[in-house]
Each structure stands twice: as structure tokens, then as C-alpha cells.
């Protein structure tokens, strides 16, 4: 019997993803033997760092986990604290939170769509090479991102790691006039976002489908961002407080991140594809109109088309921000009073990459006794590995460099935030 033909493809550094990690794929006789995502950024021990700190510090500490989605961390931690302490915040504060979160979606999605993901579809090494041939397109992406930054500055105090956010609300609420100044840039950004949808929808897609369960937050009357119930396309419908009954995490030796599974051990996916599948009917009329114009149906299970879904979400985030600004009334007080309680609080929001769950246990003076943070990338890790396996199966006849490129693209489809997941990327394809 002849020796099995082994083939190894390896990438030591996976560019255009957030954070650092590696991937290896081993093929034996053209069949996928093993697909692994390895994460070697040291675990961040944020959960341990939070123990012994005041519950009021959680938003600022956890916002430091990620420079791309700090608002997600702030909002999930705040939801958890307010859940436990029984706080109801006023409508203007709720609106401001959603508006700030729209800023983060615009920043994050514009960065991913234009700088990280689009070069894959257009055959460029990266954004710099793309900018040399398509400066106007890249300029449009930067302009979109800048508008997101501006929202973050006005409401959050800074474009990265906002400092104006607290349990109960904000340190200072912006005036109507301050928000009005954002209307014109947001109107331009909304136009740019519509163009983004038309542009990305014209890319070539390999026509593939992700099979696993799709999980996202859901709200009855709106596209869920800063809260909601945990729902899936297979019938899950649970309050955030019951998250632990439906999902668990396990440690995998090769990775510093924990891998999440459904309680029956199965794989699931969160993020734009899940949100769109479960909430497309609650997008704004303009977002639905643009999605219909380019033929983006719901559900969309093609991870390669996630770039189009993100683009539609960009339209939505701009549209929604404009709506929120239009209806904003300055609150009587920038924050509600919050008295700590002993017990356990749960919070979840839709980070740009998907559902972000926080759970805290406090003692009666508000000291954090225990913290659990489940970021979207660790929830998506198994789904990404399964998808990669299928991609390699389908494209194994490609030469190593080409196969490597397809694999990298497949990973970037998920916009993995490896910093958050260690809580990620080198790429290794082993053809054995």
C-alpha cells in the first residue's frame, strides 16, 4: 500500500483580522483531516481582573478588551449591572445608548467592509493596494468610518474607548444642538452606505451555505442592537438571564479562547448573518429597499455574502442614528441612580461581530465576586472551523497559495476579533 499523500499548507500570520492567531489545515489524500484555529495571544484574564472591583468600574475595564467594539463591552456590562440592580433608565438614555452603538457599528463595519474584506473579493493584497487603483472607493470607506468616529466622540467622549458611559446612563448627556451637528455627515454617510451595498453586492460569490443554527438577539419592534431576547432560527427564544441554560463553553488545548456550544453540543453562529436572518423584517424601510434592490434575501446563509449584510447594516445604522437624533430630547438627568444589590446579573448586546454576553455576581456593596464574558468570536469559532473544513473540501485541488487565500477569505467572512476571543491568526495548511 502506498504512503498516503500528505499536504500541508501553513500561514504564519493571517493579516486583516483583528488580533493575532493562526490556522492550520491538514489534508490527507485530498481529504480534510484536521482544521484548527489556534489562538496565541495570551488570555487576557479580564474576568479575573474584574473580581474585587466595584460594579461601577466594569464598563470602563471591559471596554479595554477591544479597540474596535468597546461600546459593546460597555453596554453588555451595563445591561448586566442594571438587570441585577433593578434599574430602569429613561427613554433619552436608552436612545443615546443605541445612538452610541450605531456609531460603533458604523466604525467597525466600515473598517471591515472596506479595509479588511473587500480587497479579498477584488484581488488586492490589502486596502493600500486597493486604494492605489480605487482611491475614491477607499475614500468613501474612510468617510463612513469617520462619521462613526464622530458619533462616538460626541456621545462617548472619544472615538475609541469612550469615557462618558456609566452604569445608569452617561456622565454628561449631549445637547440637541450637539447631535444636530451630526445630521449632515450622517446623511452623507447614509448615501455612502447605500453605495456600499450596491458595490459589495456586485462582487463574485462562490455560492455556499452555512448549515448551523443562527443565534441573535431579537426585539419585537426593532432590529436588535443594545438588548433583546436570545433567539435562533431553530426555535430558541429565551431571556438573557437563561443564556447559561442554552449555551456552554469548553476549553480546547490548542487555543487560549474558550469554545462555545449549544447545550446539546451543537455548533451555532452569531453575527450579521444571524441578525439578518432573524430580524431583517425589522430593518428600516430604506435598508430593506436597498437589500431588495440588490437581491439580498433573508435568510442569507452565505458567509461570503456577509459583506453585503454588513453593508445593509451600515445603511441601517446611519438611518437609525438619524431617526434617534431627530426624536432625541435631552434627559432631566444624564444617569439614573444605581444602588448595588447582592446577586447575579446578566446582559447581552449585539456587538458588530455578534452576540456578546456578560454575567456578573456582586456582593451587597457592589464588589464583583465573579465575572463571565462570552465574546462573539469565541461563540463563532466552531462554526468558522466547520465552514473552513467545507471550504477546503471544495477547493482542495487549488495550489497551496490559492487555497491559503480562499481559507483566509473564509475566515475574514466572520470578521473574527481575535483580541476579544482570548481571548487569534497564522494560517497553516498541511497536505499530508
Amino acid at each position: 500500500m502506498s504512503e498516503p499523500k500528505r499536504r500541508t499548507i501553513k500561514t504564519d500570520y493571517l493579516a486583516r483580522v483583528e488580533g493575532e492567531g493562526a490556522m492550520s489545515v491538514r489534508l490527507v489524500d485530498g481529504k480534510v483531516d484536521e482544521v484548527e484555529l489556534r489562538i496565541f495571544e495570551p488570555p487576557r484574564f479580564f474576568e479575573a481582573l474584574l473580581r474585587g472591583r466595584s460594579f461601577l468600574e466594569a464598563p470602563d475595564i471591559t471596554s479595554r478588551i477591544c479597540g474596535i467594539c468597546p461600546v459593546a463591552y460597555q453596554m453588555s456590562s451595563i445591561n448586566a449591572m442594571e438587570d441585577l440592580c433593578g434599574v430602569e433608565v429613561s427613554d433619552p438614555i436608552r436612545q443615546l445608548r443605541r445612538l452610541l452603538y450605531c456609531g460603533e457599528w458604523i466604525e467597525s463595519h466600515a473598517l471591515h467592509v472596506y479595509m479588511l474584506h473587500a480587497p479579498d473579493f477584488l484581488g488586492y493584497e490589502g486596502a493600500v493596494e486597493m486604494a492605489r487603483e480605487h482611491p475614491d472607493v477607499v475614500q468613501r470607506g474612510l468617510q463612513l468610518k469617520k462619521t462613526g468616529n464622530e458619533l462616538m466622540i460626541v456621545i462617548g467622549g472619544r472615538e475609541i474607548h469612550p469615557v462618558n458611559v456609566r452604569v445608569g446612563g452617561f456622565y454628561r448627556a449631549p445637547t440637541r444642538r450637539e447631535l444636530q451637528a451630526l445630521v449632515e455627515p450622517l446623511e452623507r454617510a447614509r448615501e455612502a452606505a447605500v453605495e456600499t451595498v450596491r458595490w459589495t453586492a456586485g462582487f463574485d460569490f462562490p455560492e455556499r451555505a452555512v448549515e448551523c443554527e443562527l443565534v441573535a438577539l431579537s426585539e419585537p419592534d426593532t432590529y436588535a442592537i443594545e438588548g433583546g431576547r436570545v433567539v435562533s432560527d431553530q426555535g430558541l427564544d429565551a431571556p438573557v438571564q437563561k443564556y447559561g441554560d442554552h449555551f456552554y463553553e469548553e476549553h480546547v488545548a490548542r487555543s487560549n479562547a474558550l469554545h462555545s456550544r449549544r447545550s446539546d453540543g451543537s455548533t451555532y453562529l452569531c453575527g450579521p448573518l444571524a441578525r439578518y436572518a432573524l430580524g431583517a423584517d425589522r430593518l428600516s424601510p430604506l435598508s430593506r429597499e436597498v437589500a431588495a434592490e440588490v437581491g439580498l434575501e433573508a435568510p442569507c446563509r452565505d458567509a461570503f455574502r456577509s459583506i453585503v449584510v454588513r453593508s445593509v447594516e451600515l445603511v441601517y445604522a446611519c438611518d437609525e442614528a438619524l431617526r434617534l437624533i431627530d426624536t432625541y430630547e435631552e434627559p432631566d438627568a444624564p444617569a439614573a441612580e444605581v444602588e448595588p444589590r447582592a446577586g447575579v446579573g446578566h446582559g447581552a448586546t449585539e456587538a458588530p461581530r455578534g452576540l456578546l454576553y456578560h454575567r456578573y455576581e456582586l456582593d451587597s456593596d457592589g464588589t464583583i465576586l465573579d465575572a463571565k464574558i462570552v465574546p462573539p468570536t469565541s461563540q463563532n469559532q466552531l462554526a468558522i472551523e466547520e465552514d473552513l473544513r467545507q471550504v477546503v473540501d471544495r477547493y482542495h485541488e487549488l495550489a497551496d497559495d490559492e487555497l491559503k487565500h480562499v481559507c483566509e477569505q473564509a475566515i475574514r467572512n466572520y470578521d473574527p476579533c481575535i483580541s476579544c476571543a482570548t481571548h487569534f491568526l497564522d494560517l497553516e495548511i498541511v497536505r499530508g
Partner: protein, 154 residues
């Protein structure tokens, strides 16, 4: 506008990564009337906006190339890309080298752009600079002022 802008880049909460910010702060204290000073985290649109309209940009960042801590590297990026050894890709998608190349491709670089890299040592959590980086900061301030033609203002 034909001014020079000094841009200090870094994360103030990651030890020596804050060295560039500290240089910008000290430069501002000394010559705020002559130079524009911007302190920011490494974010591409923010960085490009910071040097838009300026004739020259002096960017100060921390580096980890393996040189002696406190060493101040000077790179003129006006015509060529930064060396990748000192300015490796950031974990945040676009590093300073890529941001400069992006701006070059878009025609949004100032006439002159010089990057000073302060060799750091400790990049863990915290707001303090290591003694080596602190010494590098002091040297970098003088180099920035000299580059900007402000050496007389001490």
C-alpha cells in the same frame, strides 16, 4: 496652512506604548504656539485627519524592534515606506506603516512626514513608562523640536 503637526500615537494604558503620547504632551507644553499637537490612539482615519492640511507631520510612536530600550529611531517616510521590522502590523488591522501607505495612495500625505520610534521595553497593562522608555521620551522631545526648527525654545 503651512504648519507642522506633531502627532503622538499610542495606548496610554499599555505601559511603554504610551511613549509617543508623552512626547506629544511635552512638546505641547514647550511650544504650543508654534506647532499643532495631536495625541491619539492608532486609528487610521484619525491619523490621516490629524495631518490633513499640514505641511509637515512628525509622528511619534513606540516600537519594539529588539534595540536597546530608549533608542529613538528616525524614519523619513516622505518618499518611502516605513521598515516593517520596527513597525510591524498592529493587531488593530492597520498599523502606522499601512496608514501612511494608505494616505500616500490617496494623495493625503503632507509634503514631509517623519516618524520617530521610541524603543519600548514593557508593554503590559499600566500607565507608567519604563526608565528606558522615559529616557527615550526625553531624547525624542529634543529630536522633534530640532526637526521642527524649534530648538531655541527650551
Amino acid at each position: 496652512m503651512s504648519r507642522t503637526v506633531v502627532i503622538g500615537v499610542g495606548n496610554a494604558y499599555r505601559g511603554d506604548d504610551g511613549a509617543g503620547r508623552e512626547v506629544a504632551r511635552l512638546v505641547q507644553d514647550r511650544v504650543s504656539d508654534e506647532l499643532d499637537v495631536v495625541v491619539c490612539e492608532l486609528e487610521p482615519t484619525r491619523l490621516i485627519d490629524a495631518w490633513d492640511g499640514a505641511q509637515a507631520a512628525l509622528v511619534v510612536d513606540a516600537v519594539a524592534s529588539g534595540a536597546e530600550p530608549g533608542t529613538v529611531h528616525r524614519f523619513d517616510a516622505t518618499r518611502e515606506a516605513l521598515p516593517s521590522r520596527e513597525f510591524r502590523s498592529s493587531t488593530h488591522a492597520l498599523g502606522i506603516g499601512e496608514t501612511i501607505e494608505l494616505a500616500r495612495a490617496l494623495g493625503r500625505l503632507p509634503e514631509q512626514i517623519v516618524v520617530f520610534g521610541i524603543e519600548g521595553e514593557v508593554f503590559g497593562s499600566g500607565t507608567d513608562l519604563s526608565p528606558g522608555a522615559q529616557a527615550g521620551v526625553e531624547r525624542a522631545v529634543e529630536l522633534v523640536l530640532e526637526e521642527a526648527g524649534c530648538t531655541s525654545r527650551r
